[in-house]
Amino acid sequence: MVESVSALERIIEIEVLRYRPEQEAAPVAQSYRVPFTDDMSVLQGLQYIKDHLDGTLSFRWSCRMAICGSCGMMINGKPQLSCQTFLREFYPGKLRIEALAHFPIERDLVVGVDDFIDKLASAKPWLIPREPRSLEQGEYLQTPRQLEQYEQFSSCINCLLCYAACPQYGLDSKFTGPGVLALLHRYNADSRDHGREQRMPLVNSLEGVWNCTAVGYCSEVCPKGVDPANAVNQNKVNSARDYFLRFLRPRAEGK
């Protein structure tokens, strides 16, 4: 009992990089002292600030259980989902929170994701069947091995942590980036899909896989166990094969 009371009295310092475009030319740090319990996530710490200390603080969140992908931010310099990172990990030290790296800050912890959304569509992330099928033809059959080729890549929740971990994207945002290329591979590697030829121009392009220098941090920070670095680098092989095979097997007209 005594222990739980003292646990409630613990106070952690949270420093947030704030940016209010109508008020500041560049982001500034602001510190808050937040009482917390062992079961409180960083997101709950931010909600405490907004509810009790400073209602002007802006951040995105929704599900609180690592599935919506809204609450990614830099926590002590690492891209993490704030809903599955706990304040107790940092106590008695302080916590420094910043908007996801490599994206433009709109306000406080909110970043502009328009670039990612546009890229997402360019990868055609949906099944493109070989020919139209009717319901009477029944479901597609797939072996466990065929499933394994793409299954982990289908866990992506578009949280953008991999983009915040990718210096190549930070240095040149024309790069399609880890998340979209992993999703592209998720469909190319699916035995039900036949859209590979439509997606290869993006893979092969200057903005495609060859911009990746195999830093590998994208796979390290992914909260859903996706391995974008693997997807991108497998497609360097596919892209090279595509390049050389065109001499042996010319593409159909207009492709």
């Binding site: 433009p104 800050i105 502009g112 210096p167 930070g170 941090y217 680098n233």
Partner: protein, 132 residues
Amino acid sequence: MSARRPYMRPMNGWWRRDPFFVRYMVREATALVVALYAVVLLAGTLCLARGETSWNAWLALLRTPASILLHLLMLVAMIYHAYSWFEIMPKTLPVLFIGGRRVAGTTITRVGLIAAALATLVTLAVAWTLRP
């Protein structure tokens, strides 16, 4: 009129922000050392082609303390490069199956490191047997 004024943060010194990036930069930098050692070997081959005097001069150069120190430094860089190279190897390979089971990334790294160690030992053994 839009009140939006998106702020882009600079990328200056990005590779010092995280130890992961520092290790990446060391991996990339040690690749230059691998290239440098290839140049040393190439110089030896050219000296060999030019005749005995050149060859002996190259050998004598290798025996100088400065050269030995340089080689020790290159050895350290080369070992780190080999380690980091096999560490990233699982990321560059397609999904592998052996006996119906997926091969784990750590297994790929380990097999690579063991292969590199064996190749080094075999090379050393051959060099030792063929020494004059």
